[in-house]
């Protein structure tokens, strides 16, 4: 399967703490993206990091990419209850096809 894997599968933290989730993938990529999905809703794009980049920031989000290890991490700082959702990494291959990971379910406790 071309689908990536994420860990942990589930993460529960207190509001104000940082949340870190990891993604591993298998093939060469153009870029890696992170998406968020609230229960019963579609996915929403959060951040994109290109294959030649190592780190990127957007607001409270920080994403890293290690192409030698085929892995990425997403850090959400100062988490809020509204951050409760599932988070997916997606890799875009050279054919502009997107493959999603298995997801991390994040619960932020107020």
């Amino acid at each position: 399967s071309q689908q990536g894997e994420e860990d942990p599968q589930a993460l529960s933290i207190q509001e104000g703490e940082n949340a870190t989730m990891n993604c591993s993938y298998k093939t060469s990529i153009n870029n890696l993206q992170w998406y968020r999905q609230n229960s019963g809703r579609g996915l929403v794009h959060l951040i994109l990091i290109r294959s030649n980049e190592r780190e990127k920031h957007s607001g409270r989000l920080r994403v890293t990419l290690d192409t030698s290890k085929k892995s990425s991490s997403l850090l959400i700082t100062a988490s809020r209850a509204a951050d409760t959702a599932s988070y997916f990494c997606a890799t875009e291959d050279t054919g502009n096809q997107f493959y999603f990971g298995t997801g991390t379910s994040l619960t932020v406790i107020p």
Binding site: Q3, Q33, G42, H45, G95, N96, T102, G103
Partner: protein
């Protein structure tokens, strides 16, 4: 800018019946994707269109699933006959900016097969 529209939002059918899902992408988006998301899993690509041509349908179960994109705009995904394991959310996404690579998703169509 209107988002990706999908219908119906929910559908319940008996196994061996047929069902069709409709997607209207964001205006001007050339690339359209159908994903299947089984509960607790990540989305799995079923088919990708570039305008009205198929780019990748390698994971589409062609004995029961079919999809078309008429005139390079709206798309329909059909399942006939449905099996119990087809119970899932069917997500449509579109992309018009290959240099940014961002996908825009609809709210999905939740299928329950009894």
């Amino acid at each position: 800018e209107a988002g990706v529209a999908q219908s119906p939002r929910y559908k319940i059918i008996e196994k061996r019946q047929s069902v069709a899902f409709w997607c209207n992408p964001i205006s001007g988006h050339a690339t359209l994707y159908w994903y299947q998301q089984i509960l607790g899993q990540g989305p799995k690509l079923l088919i990708q269109f570039q305008n009205n041509g198929v780019v990748d349908d390698s994971q589409l179960p062609k004995d029961r699933f079919s999809a078309e994109r008429l005139k390079g705009v709206d798309s329909t995904l059909k399942i006939q006959p449905a099996k119990l394991e087809d119970s899932a959310v069917y997500l449509c996404a579109s992309s018009g900016y290959l240099d940014t690579g961002e996908l825009f998703f609809g709210e999905g169509s939740r299928l329950t097969v009894l």
